[in-house]
Symmetry: C2
Subunit: 229 residues, 2 copies
Amino acid sequence: MAEGVPARGGLRERKKKATRAALAEAAVRLAAEHGVENVTVDAICAAAGVSTRTFFNYFDSRDEVFVMIGADSGALVCDDVLAAPAGRAPLDVLREALAAELEEVEQQHETWRLHAEVLGSNPQLLARTLGAHMADELLLAEALAERVGAGSPLFTEDRPAHGSPQEQERRRALPLYPRLLAAVGGTAVRIAVEHWCVRQGETPFAEVFRETFEQLAAGLPEPPRPPDA
Amino acid sequence: MAEGVPARGGLRERKKKATRAALAEAAVRLAAEHGVENVTVDAICAAAGVSTRTFFNYFDSRDEVFVMIGADSGALVCDDVLAAPAGRAPLDVLREALAAELEEVEQQHETWRLHAEVLGSNPQLLARTLGAHMADELLLAEALAERVGAGSPLFTEDRPAHGSPQEQERRRALPLYPRLLAAVGGTAVRIAVEHWCVRQGETPFAEVFRETFEQLAAGLPEPPRPPDA
DNA sequence: ACGCAAAAATGCATGGCCTGCAAAAATTGA
DNA sequence: TCAATTTTTGCAGGCCATGCATTTTTGCGT
């Protein structure tokens, strides 16, 4: 089959992506069939046609193959936050940055639904997901801090290596507001996605998302109409 | 040392408690000394004087021995939410319910500080702790839904067994507002605790907690003063 | 085409985590 | 003391995860 696109990077890079995708796909498929807990790394590798050892060249743990959501989306959100025009409300900036990143969610409905189901019925996996998520959360908190701080170069010098323990410790010491904003924003996204998934997309995701952040911006007041419908 | 209290229950029951405590104590002590990741179950058991197999009669996993905090606090918060006088803003109800629970916990300051230190240096464990509290989030969402719904006995009949998969699935289908409120509330608590721990309690926890929920109630506006102090 | 160097995949050994099962030890109550 | 119940323990086995050495694949200059 002639490649229409040279697919930047050589065959090497493409194969890596393919292998990773094959592993993830096989994992999700087997999980849907036998339940997440009954899917071994060996089974995934057999289905994907690679050795067991290779699996751990792509994922740090068995659970990670089930998470795999928005691997690098966190950095993109941070970029959007930092690139936003000054003077806007931080929550709005965050909302729009997240919205841009979540635009494609609707198309991967099935994937997200499956993941929500899996995570919901599996505390252990949820823990892993949250663990992965929290690194992003701290990154986001830092971006928000830089945006809000406007004049707090407290931490702009002598940065340790990216992702190092010191870096993480430093981020944990960020002011309360950006930490809270980042964490609550991430939580809001999670709830919006879960809510939308459970409802099987009977409402456009964009609307659920909008309503969620409206609630946040309004200070979580009692909802206008009781859900008696 | 003569037991001041007859320790209701026979020697059997006392021994179980003692063993559990010994395991937890040994685990925390070894973790403080060598780092959480370098503490094996075997080492904990050797220090506690029991067999490795026995460990798993007391804890479902290695990590659980490090968590073990506020096991049933979730239910108490739910009770407080349901018992709150009608007419109050849901966010206020939630805040006070959480505050009541956290107040009781703050008396065990030293225990918390030690655990916070351990958890703080170990995101994976923290994530696991959060995962354990995830069930609480859905429970809390349900309590908030009952309180807000005011007249939605949709689910008050034919309840499946508590904690069953159906129960959990049903809770996930709760309306957006209580889900969001429960999740955001839990997140706010987490951020408040983390912030307070990192600052080594230089500010009373109650104040951090108050400020956090003030931010939430105000819709997360840009903070009044940049944290340049 | 060819061959070399870099990168990736693999096999193997090792160690930790966790579970079921059955035997041994301890506790309880009569 | 004796029998019943509960707890502890050893052991086998399976899965997860990592390090190391080896083999295979890919990229690229010649």
